[in-house]
């Protein structure tokens, strides 16, 4: 992987994790530098979502071995909220509804928390409103959303746009995108991809989990990795995604199994 001698933002070495007795990630190695977009592809049940959820600190998962170093620090030792304040952001595949919690209050609490951690002052109500409305507009969301309860009654597309809207608002360093493209029609996909591209930059890194190559036409990855049965079995550039689109995952699975038998 090209590094230009830069410090990596995320390094995974032999990361193993699972739920209960079931091991899902069986030793993942990955290095991500600032400025890079990594696409993680793979068939259903290969551990893609598990990978990003473990990195965000979802308590359902147990880390069984290996390590995850984020900007030189042990990511796995941090609580989920610490990770977020340190600049790790997970865009959820299925964002949960929060009854009675107004979107405005939620965004305010989140922004206050990350800004405080970065040593920034609290925004005035006016500046907050301006900022939030700008981000909503960018994601094609009405300001009326601020009065609604978080994710409650949102359509599938609205939930995904809301996730990317938060990404733009909170401005983290490392974005973990969990199947942000799934369930979107082509217009919504374009809006979401635009948001991701807007976030993208030399001081940012993205790990994008997807089942389909489609979103990669809009968000062009620097690297593509194929995760099968809890391991990265192939890595390459954009062309790998196109090859997968044409040939499916089966040939890689067989190659991986053959490789393990040797």
């Amino acid at each position: 992987m090209a590094s230009d001698g830069k410090e990596p933002v995320l390094v995974l070495r032999g990361l193993r994790a699972g739920i209960g007795d079931v091991e899902i990630l069986k030793g993942v190695d990955l290095t991500v530098h600032l400025g890079e977009v990594h696409a993680i592809m793979g068939p259903n049940g290969s551990g893609k979502s598990t990978l990003v959820n473990v990195l965000a600190g979802k308590p359902d998962y147990e880390v069984l071995g290996g390590e995850a170093i984020y900007r030189g620090r042990d990511l796995l030792a941090m609580t989920p909220d610490e990770r977020a304040r340190e600049g790790v952001f997970l865009a959820f595949q299925y964002p949960v509804e929060l009854p009675g919690v107004r979107l405005r209050e939620f965004l305010r609490a989140a922004l206050d928390a990350v800004r405080e951690h970065r040593g920034l002052e609290k925004l005035s109500v006016r500046d907050f409103n301006r900022l939030v409305q700008e981000k909503l507009r960018q994601m094609g969301m009405d300001a009326e959303f601020l009065k609604r309860n978080v994710n409650e009654g949102f359509s599938g597309g609205e939930k995904k746009r809301h996730e990317i809207m938060q990404l733009l608002l909170l401005d983290p360093t490392l974005a973990l995108l969990d199947e942000t493209d799934s369930g979107l029609d082509i217009d919504a996909l374009k809006v979401v991809a635009q948001g991701i591209n807007q976030f993208r930059g030399p001081e940012k890194a993205i790990v994008l989990v997807t089942h389909y190559q489609r979103i990669l036409n809009y968000v062009q990855p620097d690297f593509v990795h194929v995760l099968i049965d809890g391991r990265i079995v192939a890595s390459g550039g954009r062309e790998l995604a196109q090859e997968l689109e044409a040939k499916g995952y089966e040939w890689l699975r067989q190659a991986a199994e053959a490789g393990r038998r040797e």
């Binding site: 977020a84 997970l90 949960v96 929060l98 009675g100 609490a109």
Partner: protein, 488 residues
């Protein structure tokens, strides 16, 4: 959140971190001997310079109470050791510097003023937030009532009930005990015999009270019970919003609080009654704390009248309380919005009764129960539709939220429908704070405590939005404090 500070209670040595209202106000007091007898009742009545009819009423209540032979009501889901009713002080009054009862705001002990300042209830009128008049009750007496002049100009009476007994006997005699007779229940009988102060409100016909009226109750003396009596009358076409707040110092022993509140709404009148109950809840092991055994009831006497109860109950070791509405007038409306939170070893058995008598009467019940620690939380509610109540409607929503695995929530709805035209809806849910919700908030940088607070606050939103602005901020802070120590 205010910065953490360490304050140790003088009496108990308990750190006040969990309950910042737990200080004792150092004022000299006039305290009656312990125990209850006809002599004590005569003493209270004499101290209050009451007319003969009042004393007679008290004595009748006392004799009725004695006839119950110390047998308290047992049907609620609460547990406590037997209360020794002869081990309680039934009258305690702060003295002004010259040893007499304070007569004006200027006569009040500066120590007392400072204490109420600390509680967030400044007694100087110029310091008050605009739009709220306050009656401050310490132990057995009202120590200050603000904005009385301004209200008088509109014909509104807002004064200690002891004053009303002397100055407005015709109103007090007509309505006292008319909604909650002294035979209603054990604690109502006790209160009727020994009540020493409380608030009286009368709003004349057609007057919309321009400010919220508030009573702030404070138990201070170590062995005093508090037995306040509140009577609110809204005459034809009038409106009043009344707020009530309560705190007590940290005490090792349990303290008894047995209040009676009666509301009367005449034709086209509306009463909105909001309570923020934050009596000392006891410590983490369940020692001390206030026994809050309260009878609150309103009657919609006239057509198109409305009574609305909103309560946030976070304090007390035990809460036993069912603010109710008798819907007598046709088209009258009763509402009950409640949040009851129990933590540690607190117990709450609370709910409402909606008694539909008039035609086309409507009632709404929204009850939110939150249980944490070893807390026991019961919702108990009665909806009764009498044969005369053609077209009556009720909507009940009852939600329970559990935090942790050692607490419990119970829901006991009673429905008595004697008119076939009635329409009744009942919705109930029980849930736990989900890990998914906590993780979602935390993954945005929000701490676990704050995330839990946000979820609980969201759960209570339907009730909180009924609270007047004055209480909304205080409630948020109270909720945070009450939830402390429930994470992890």
């Amino acid at each position: 959140m205010p910065p953490a500070r360490k304050v140790i209670s003088r009496e108990t040595g308990i750190e006040e971190k969990e309950y910042k209202w737990g200080f004792v106000i150092p004022v000299p007091a006039d305290v009656a001997p312990k125990g209850l007898s006809e002599d004590i009742i005569r003493l209270i009545s004499r101290k209050k310079e009451e007319p003969e009819w009042m004393l007679e009423w008290r004595l009748r209540a006392y004799r009725y109470w004695r006839s119950l032979d110390y047998v308290e009501p047992k049907w609620a889901k609460i547990y406590h050791p037997p209360i020794d009713f002869q081990d309680i002080v039934y009258y305690a009054a702060p003295l002004s510097r010259d040893g007499d009862r304070p007569k004006t705001l200027d006569d009040i002990d500066p120590e007392l003023k400072r204490a109420f300042d600390k509680l967030g209830i400044p007694l100087e009128e110029q310091k008050r937030l605009a739009g709220v008049a306050v009656d401050a009750v310490l132990d057995s007496v009202s120590v200050a009532t603000t904005f009385q002049k301004k209200l008088e100009e509109l014909g509104i009476i807002f004064c200690p009930i002891s004053e009303a007994i002397q100055k407005h006997p015709e109103l007090v005699r007509k309505y006292l005990g008319s909604v909650v007779p002294y035979t209603d229940n054990f604690y109502a009988a006790l209160n009727s015999a020994v009540f020493s102060d409380g608030t009286f409100v009368y709003v004349p016909p057609g007057v919309r009270c321009p400010m919220d009226l508030m009573t702030y109750f404070r138990i201070n003396e170590a062995e005093a019970g508090q037995f306040e009596r509140t009577l609110i009358i809204a005459d034809r076409g009038s409106y009043v919003s009344y707020l009530e707040g309560c705190t007590a110092p940290i005490r090792k022993k349990h303290q008894l609080h047995a209040a009676v509140v009666e509301l009367i709404a005449l034709e086209d009148a509306e009463i909105k009654y909001s309570t923020l109950q934050n009596w000392y809840p006891g410590d983490k092991e369940g020692h001390g704390g206030v026994y809050n055994f309260v009878t609150k009831r309103g009657i919609c006497l006239g057509r198109n009248s409305k009574i609305s109860w909103t309560q946030v109950e976070t304090g007390s070791a035990i809460t036993w309380k069912y603010p109710s509405v008798i819907l007598r007038g046709d088209n009258s409306v009763g509402e009950f919005y409640s949040v009851a939170l129990v933590n540690n070893y607190q117990q709450a058995d609370t709910g409402t009764k909606m008694i539909h008598i008039g035609k086309n009467t409507r009632s709404t019940i929204v009850a939110k129960g939150i249980s944490a620690g070893h807390g026991q939380n019961t919702y108990r509610g009665l909806v009764k539709i009498m044969p005369t109540a053609d077209g009556a409607r009720n909507f009940t929503r009852c939600d329970s939220l559990l935090i942790g695995s050692r607490c419990a929530a119970h829901t006991v709805p009673y429905l008595e429908v004697r008119n076939p035209t009635a329409r009744i809806e009942h919705e109930a849910t029980t849930s736990k704070i989900s890990d998914e919700q906590l993780f979602y908030l935390m993954s945005r940088g929000i701490s676990e405590e704050e995330a839990q607070y946000m979820i609980v606050h969201g759960f209570c939103r339907g009730v909180f939005q009924e609270l007047p602005f004055e209480f909304a901020m205080e409630v948020s802070q109270l909720l945070r404090v009450s939830l402390e120590g429930t994470v992890g």
